[in-house]
């Protein structure tokens, strides 16, 4: 009797707990799907059935792939459904999966495709469920509808793009008018007027670079940049940039040399030549800009290591004060001792440079000592950069 009562009470408690778990599941905003170790669906909450576009009762007992179709990009036909979920469960549910080990995975963006409906963008996280002995008994998939986030991201990107485009038009017209004035197309000008117009032209060109760099930052930050690697002679790429800036380098009294690894004098690396050119371009212009006044030297070296190529740009310029070195890759940062220099940069160059290097699979860092100079380093894996599909390029 005593025993029976205890059992009944325990069942009731269990029932109450079960009720509250189901209530909880149905009232939370995230979609939750629970499956057993045979991949059969045991629970679908209200939010999940809304995302799947299916009544929850239709899914219960079904295998997960019969009721739930997930793709990376709905515009690519024939893409495999469930993608990352499948290997995940195969690993987690295999007989030799270690006990007491939680398997988790998150997918920041995928699309749930639905029969006769628009695909729903979701962010997912998946985790295994375990019994008291630590055996995997099933899995829980939590998903969040990210339609609004994607829409906001799109609005932000479009805004930056339209704003930049609208800013470029008048800046371009100003540039051409000043160029015509300087060329005396509209009438003779005095030396003083020429000096003022030259300053206006330089400021205007700086603004043009700033708009272009801001747009590039927005593209890099949104991860929409396309990276198309191709076999590239890095030596020639460096020499082309040096050649392009020949006059600027000479005007600042700098001497630039390129030093290749004697064991590897002309390496061919699988990189996006346009993006890496931008990196080398920024580093050389930076080195020239912060050169000390007399006998400035800049040396660009390429060295092959075990797992990567390392490119360094050394200068004997003004160097970066120690207490400011941490901020050097920050947007719009300019070191104290660089403030007095003619500021031709936008304050975005090194930030953009580091982002490109990281997108290319490499690392970027520097060593610097004030009044002695700075060396910037970046690496590219020996295997090259991985292709990155994106709809935009840098400008």
């Amino acid at each position: 009797m005593e025993h029976k009562k205890r059992v009944a009470s325990s069942e009731r408690t269990h029932e109450v707990n079960r009720m509250s778990v189901e209530d909880m599941l149905s009232s939370i905003g995230e979609g939750i799907i629970i499956i057993d170790d045979k991949l059969h669906i045991t629970t679908v909450n209200t939010a999940a059935s809304r995302i799947l576009g299916k009544n929850a009762s239709l899914c219960l007992g079904e295998r997960i792939d019969a009721c739930f179709s997930l793709v990376d990009d709905p515009s690519v036909p024939g893409e495999r459904a469930i993608h990352a979920l499948e290997p995940f469960f195969q690993n987690a549910f295999s007989a030799d999966a270690p006990r007491h080990t939680s398997f988790t995975e998150s997918i920041p963006r995928a699309f749930v495709t639905r029969d006769g409906g628009e695909p729903v963008p979701v962010a997912l996280s998946i985790a295994t469920l375990h019994d008291a002995e630590g055996r995997v008994t099933g899995g829980i998939i939590a998903m969040r509808d990210i339609t609004a986030e994607i829409e906001n991201e799109k609005i932000k990107t479009e805004f930056v793009s339209i704003a930049s485009h609208q800013l470029s038009a008048p800046l371009g017209a100003i540039r051409w008018n000043i160029e015509m004035l300087l060329n005396q197309d509209i009438g003779p000008i005095t030396m003083e007027q020429r000096s003022a117009l030259t300053d206006i032209l330089e400021s205007n060109n700086r603004m043009i670079r700033l708009v272009s760099d801001l747009l590039n930052v927005s593209r890099l930050e949104s991860g929409r940049i396309r990276l198309s690697p191709e076999q590239t002679h890095i030596k020639k790429l460096i020499e082309d940039v040096v050649n392009e800036y020949k006059h600027y380098i000479m005007s600042r009294g700098c001497v630039v040399s390129v030093k290749m690894d004697p064991h590897n004098p002309d390496p061919v690396i699988n990189i996006d030549p346009i993006l890496i050119r931008q990196v080398i371009n920024n580093l050389i212009v930076n080195a020239v800009q912060y050169a000390s006044t007399a006998s400035s030297r800049i040396e660009i070296a390429v060295q092959k290591n075990d797992v990567d190529y390392q490119v360094s740009v050394w200068d004997n310029g003004i160097g970066i004060p120690e207490d400011e070195q941490k901020k050097i890759f920050t947007k719009f940062f300019r070191a104290d001792n660089a403030q007095s220099k003619e500021a031709i940069g936008t304050g975005l160059g090194l930030y953009i440079t580091k982002m490109i290097v990281e997108l290319s699979g490499g690392k970027m860092w520097f060593v610097s000592k004030q009044k002695e100079g700075t060396t910037f380093f970046f690496t590219i894996p020996i295997t090259g950069s991985a292709q990155h599909h994106g709809e935009v390029s840098l400008t």
């Binding site: 470029s168 540039r175 708009v211 400008t395």
Partner: protein, 134 residues
């Protein structure tokens, strides 16, 4: 019409920004070129069909008929399809530039990134005028 007028090469400019239009007019008009102007693609196309120019200089983002459509129309029109085209636009994306170049234009300049002298030099080069006016 005098004989010198006849010899003057004609450049047809289609551009909707009046400030930029005035610059082209001043810079090219001063260098012995007969400059024709239109502020949209529809008007530009109709007038070019009546009197084909020696060179077309055009924007891409324009009202009524944008530059992409205009280039398609030009390339479909026998009397216009061989005329060299220079596109000057603020669109600086590789995909736009590749698309336009693939349509058979001679040159693509991103306005703010190009000096007006470079534009005039290219115009002169395509017109076969050796003398530089910059």
């Amino acid at each position: 019409m005098t004989s010198t007028e006849e010899k003057k090469p004609t450049v047809f400019i289609i551009e909707d920004d009046p400030f930029v239009l005035r610059i082209y007019q001043r810079k090219l008009g001063n260098s012995g070129i007969n400059v024709q102007l239109a502020t949209n693609g529809v008007e530009g196309f109709e007038r070019m069909k009546e009197a084909p120019p020696n060179l077309i200089l055009m924007d891409l983002v324009m009202p009524q008929k944008d530059g992409f459509e205009l280039i398609e129309d030009i390339k479909r029109t026998p009397s216009l399809q061989h005329i060299p085209i220079i596109v000057l636009s603020n669109l600086s994306q590789e995909k736009d530039i590749d698309r336009v170049k693939g349509m058979g234009v001679e040159e693509y300049f991103v306005k703010a990134h190009t000096s007006i002298h470079a534009v005039v030099d290219r115009v002169n080069q395509l017109l076969g005028i050796s003398e530089s006016h910059t």
